[in-house]
């Protein structure tokens, strides 16, 4: 097969075959990161615009590094120092940048569907870097890559996602991806942060972390977004920690070699204990490294051939 898409918008639309094609392509880029000169000329002459309407450190840096490793020219856009402050609309902003002859937009926006809208309107490639609580496809792909790298497979693994499922684009993209690769997905969190019809996505819902952790191979802890606390969705960080923190006591209940993941940034002492015993298999930093090669693979697949 080949990867024919113009855009990467979400895991919901990808086939199992396409997901594996992306993971395999990413694997080819791994060796480049260990070279003395960590740069290849693959996207020479292409221009990529990072259009981030929402704050981001890691994802934006990871994209920028991936673009630079491939020798693309990079433009960074953030609304705080742009004409958006003068009231310029999203469409106008993008069309003006497009008139400067660029090849790709990496888009993060708080409104779900923004990248999809742009993909429909524009002739260039759009990569979704997070749209509201909808999807964050490159995060899910790097998570899938990290699981496969550590376990050799994804099919049949029991994967648990813990935290604020309702507001998490990482959860949604991962649920779609994991189900397509035939993992068994569980979700766990406070009932106020659990969408009502979530079972329809093909997951098992738990409200007790102890029960949810039983026989699990992989656990993904989501960041608790402290800004949500003001909305009264959970009473206090302390209470959240009492019920949903992956403490050493709770880890005693699970498989010795459980894979511990977190999309970052971690609230240490909340989702994960300040000090985790050394024999625990945390792959949080592998996720960060793999993020670069997944993004290199996506950029290569979207821009690295004629259309």
């Amino acid at each position: 097969m080949d990867f024919e898409r113009k855009d990467l918008l979400g895991l919901e639309e990808l086939t199992e075959e396409e997901i594996f094609f992306i993971l395999d392509t990413a694997k080819s880029f791994r060796e480049v990161l260990d070279r003395p000169i960590k740069k290849i000329p693959t996207l020479r002459g292409k221009t990529v615009v990072n259009l981030f309407f929402e704050a981001s450190t890691r994802t934006r840096m990871s994209f920028e590094l991936a673009e630079k490793r491939l020798n693309a020219d990079v433009l960074n856009f953030s609304p705080s120092n742009s004409s958006v402050l003068k009231g310029e609309s999203l469409q106008d902003t993008v069309k003006n940048i497009l008139a400067m002859k660029v090849d790709c937009f990496v888009v993060r926006h708080s409104t779900p569907g923004t990248p999809h809208l742009l993909a429909k309107e524009l002739p260039v490639s759009i990569i979704n870097a997070g749209d509201g609580a909808h999807e964050h496809p490159t995060q899910a792909l790097l998570d899938l890559y990290t699981i496969r790298e550590a376990r050799g497979r994804i099919e049949g693994l029991k994967v648990l996602i813990v935290g604020d499922i309702a507001h998490s684009r990482v959860a949604r993209s991962n649920i779609w991806g994991l189900n397509k690769l035939r993992a068994k997905v569980r979700v766990c969190g406070p009932s106020t942060l659990m969408p009502s019809m979530i079972e329809k996505m093909g997951v098992k819902v738990f409200f007790s972390l102890e029960e949810a952790l039983r026989e699990v191979d992989v656990v993904m802890m989501l960041r608790i977004q402290k800004e949500r606390q003001n909305k009264g969705l959970f009473s206090s960080i302390g209470e959240y920690r009492d019920f949903f923190s992956l403490t050493e006591e709770r880890l005693k209940l699970v498989k010795e070699d459980i894979l511990i993941m977190h999309p970052g940034p971690v609230n240490w002492g909340v989702e994960l204990p300040f000090r985790m015993s050394e024999n625990r298999k945390s792959v949080i930093l592998n996720q960060v490294t793999n993020g670069i090669i997944i993004r290199m693979a996506i950029l290569y697949l979207l821009l690295g051939r004629s259309r």
């Binding site: 392509t25 060796e31 070279r35 003395p36 740069k39 693959t42 690295g304 051939r305 004629s306």
Partner: protein
Amino acid sequence: MDEKDIARVLSRLAHEIIEKNKEVDDLILVGIQRRGVPLAERISKLIKEIKGKELPTGSLDITFYRDDLTRIGYHPIIRDTNILVPIDDKKIILVDDVLYTGRTVRASLDALLDFGRPQKIELVVLIDRGHRELPIHPDYVGKNIPTSLEEMVEVRVKELDGRDEVLILKKE
């Protein structure tokens, strides 16, 4: 060419490499994916039989360095690049099956130079079929086969194709 012809040619190439380089201590063999890789391994084995010294071998995939990536309408399969030893100040023997336009070799040189600064790079090819589009010249040639542009030279090797042979085919 059949299995025997290829074996004889490779043996001659191994001898030529030794003759030209005298000391083989600093040599590293690098095969270009795909069929250059098994050929590099075989030459390494032959040199070991003669000099008793095992040369490091590596593999190089040039997809990321192709000059036509944004002109072709598909994604080429990317194979392993595996260069495990530092190449700074070493002599690299680059190995490929067929030398044609020279563009693969150009890409390989760019790729190699991203791994360090070798003292020297030499080129070995099993077949030189002519029609260069770049000023690239091999240091060791197994066999010169004059071809027309309507022909294809296909090298098959046991490791990947189950048998050793070189065929000249007409393009469909």
